[in-house]
């Protein structure tokens, strides 16, 4: 195993060879009035931009993989580099100095589905899917929610029935991110009329198979960050089944816990819409930096954002010390939805009339996306209520709330 400094030196050289450096002063630094004033709350990519971006992302993943950086913390038998997570984190920090495509579009693929496969798939599936996912050859999505089964996975009605060596899947899924880009989908289906939680099975379905139809789902923000997916008698082979028949609920829990962790990660105030500098510039340009009510509210908001970050760093450190987070990780998700709501209230108060109509003034009306997106944060990745039930039972040991 290389020492970290050597590893980083080699990585920097590799990046240097293929990508241009981002000028230091541009990096991360927010400048009022410069560039786009878009406020990204959900990934609602422009279809044209997206068509352009996906090949670039795939090429970047392929280069990473071929260079040995595609899955730094992954086991060697599946093409990983077999190094610790701290190497991976250090590499990721390093990449921010270079003009490379981000992995945001692969959050589901790499942050949720790949870890699920690593935990639940058989040897053959691991060898087949893990390198392909990390290399960007395959992009995956998650097919869980249904119109009749939001938080309650046990009421899933999509059915998989055995047919020949494989299965026939019919059903409707909803709130799927990136289904229109995905090559495979992790789907949970009913496979027996049996008792709740034991009647479900997970599959990896080919999203290009006949019978799969993907439709954008327009949410209240006006954009379409999600899809509806209709499956009409879709044939899947026997080796598409993930883990045993009847184990679908456990498989889904693995994916969901990674989802919460991925969502919780955005709960701190370091970058993007939660950047302290960006919020201060907003207050200054809105002309109320000297209003003590606004200053007090700003201090309160920053307190909430920072504490969420501190808590996450303390948890991450505990994980590095060998105490991986349990279900309490969902507290981060709860903090995120509360913080998004607090942010919405703060920016609306600061901007006043400027947030209700688009006068063309830079960096003002753009914040409506926070106001409109905040409710989605309380619903996505496990609603607040479902997470609280889970934490009450699994962290506090209270009787299952009902």
């Amino acid at each position: 195993m290389p020492e970290l400094p050597e590893f980083l030196a080699a990585a920097e050289a590799w990046l240097e060879a293929g990508y241009s450096r981002v000028a230091t002063e541009q990096r991360g630094r927010f400048r009022w009035g410069e560039g786009s004033d878009e406020v990204h709350v959900f990934q609602e990519p422009d279809p044209v931009e997206e068509a352009d971006a996906v090949p670039r992302i795939r090429a970047w993943r392929a280069a990473l993989w071929d260079g040995g950086y595609g899955w730094i913390s992954g086991p060697k038998e599946y093409g990983g580099a077999g190094l610790s997570r701290s190497y991976e984190a250090a590499f990721n920090r390093l990449t921010r100095k270079f003009d490379v495509p981000g992995d945001a579009a692969l959050t589901v693929s790499l942050g949720m589905i790949a870890p699920t496969i690593l935990r639940h798939a058989d040897e053959g599936q691991k060898r087949r899917y893990l390198p392909a996912l990390y290399r960007g050859d395959l992009i995956a999505c998650q097919l869980f929610s249904e119109p009749g089964a939001g938080s309650d996975l046990a009421s899933i009605e999509s059915k998989a029935t055995p047919e020949g060596d494989g299965w026939l899947i019919t059903g409707q899924k909803v709130w799927t991110s990136g289904a229109h880009l995905a090559d495979i989908g992790e789907i949970i289906c009913q496979t027996s009329p049996g008792p709740r939680h034991h009647n479900l099975t997970a599959f990896l379905v080919d999203m290009h198979a006949p019978g799969v139809m993907v439709r954008p789902l327009r949410q209240m923000t006006g954009g379409a960050a999600f899809n509806e997916v209709f499956l009409d008698g879709v044939r899947v082979p026997g080796d598409a089944r993930l883990d045993a028949v009847g184990e679908g609920w456990r498989v889904a829990l693995t994916t969901l816990s990674h989802e919460r962790s991925a969502m919780g990660h955005s709960s701190f105030g370091g970058a993007g819409i939660l950047s302290t500098e960006r919020l201060m510039e907003l207050v200054r340009h809105a002309g109320n930096a000297h209003d003590s009510v606004v200053r007090r509210d700003f201090g309160e908001l920053i307190t909430q954002l920072r504490v969420a970050r501190y808590a996450q760093e303390v948890m991450a450190e505990r994980a590095r010390a060998g105490q991986p987070p349990g279900p309490e990780i969902a507290l981060n998700k709860l903090a995120l939805s509360a913080n998004m709501a607090a942010l919405a209230g703060f920016v609306a108060g600061v901007l006043g009339p400027k947030v209700i109509a688009d006068t063309g003034e830079w960096g003002t009306y753009a914040w409506t996306s926070v106001v409109l997106g905040a409710p989605g944060y309380r619903l996505g990745g496990g609603s607040d209520e479902v997470l609280k039930n889970m934490i009450a039972e699994r962290v506090l040991g209270l009787p299952r709330p009902s």
């Binding site: 929610s145 119109p147 089964a149 939001g150 938080s151 309650d152 046990a154 009421s155 909803v174 709130w175 709740r196 789902l217 327009r218 949410q219 209240m220 006006g222 009510v293 709501a341 609306a348 108060g349 901007l351 006043g352 009339p353 400027k354 947030v355 209700i356 109509a357 688009d358 006068t359 009306y365 409506t368 106001v371 409109l372 905040a374 409710p375 989605g376 309380r378 619903l379 609603s383 607040d384 209520e385 609280k388 009902s402």
Partner: protein
Amino acid sequence: MSAVSTRPNLSAAAEHDELRRTVRQFLADMPPVRSVMEATEGFDRAAWRRMAEQVGLQALLVPERYEGLGQGATEANVVFEEMGRALYSGPYFASAALAVYVLLCSGDEAACRDLLPGIAAGTTIATAALDGSSAPILHGHVADLLLVTDGSSLFAVDAGIQAQPIDSLDLTRKLATVKFERGSARPVGKEGGAPKTIAAATDRALVCLAAEEAGGAARCLEMSVAYAKQREQFGRPIGSFQAIAHRCVEMLQRVEFARAAARYAASCLDEETGEFPIAARVAAAYCGQAYRWVAGESIQVHGGIGFTWEHDAHLHYRRAWADEALLGTTDQHYLAIADRLGL
């Protein structure tokens, strides 16, 4: 009742049931708001004319001597609750309440005589821009008459208005950037009288807005409770879970208190009690907050479906958040209450 009394008579409620039924029915018969909100004007002209001709709602607050119905804030309270429930997208608040109150509060007899009959008949669509800035104006793109201020005096503009509707948070109440010829402006009220007129008219219009918000919140509660009874999760209606049931109760609390606050402020106005300046801002602050909170929780009760474009929940949510900046923010109301109580 004397001006020093602080306790208004609240007994008129029952006789307004008929008015409420009429307005609710009229609004129910209109084209659905979704079918008109994406059109340029954002409302249905034909329905606006029917509203004037069949029900005379535009004339409600206009005194009889200016060809109106001479009704009070208490009657307006009922009408605005219904407007809020229905998310009515036409220029009713701007023309029939805000502009009417500005003209009445200006004390300019001639201007009232010339301008109010057209507003009452629904043939003039009026609006007002009271902050003296070039900020977007409510329904400016359909306004025949603009009441504006230079910060000192008021003016009426009824010709040469160039307006452009712009993207706004509230999809059911459009805003527009407006330009007009200074030359065509007619002074309204005394020179230098704008601040006083605007303060008085704003308090009055806020009471209408508060009622509208209470009505909107009531509608959100209704949708939520109905959904909570019907939607099943984990094998039972979600409304049987305390998390949902208690949230609905907290929504009810805000709805009932918001309705009471708007109703009380309206009575204070009609009876000229000393409580009015406080009651107006209390109603404005409370109803605004209540609507924003209830609309947000309503999305949460509805779950994923509440977050879709197709569901009406977001139309209320948008309206509620946009209202916050229409005639002063909640914090401004709070500060005004402290000022007015003499702290």
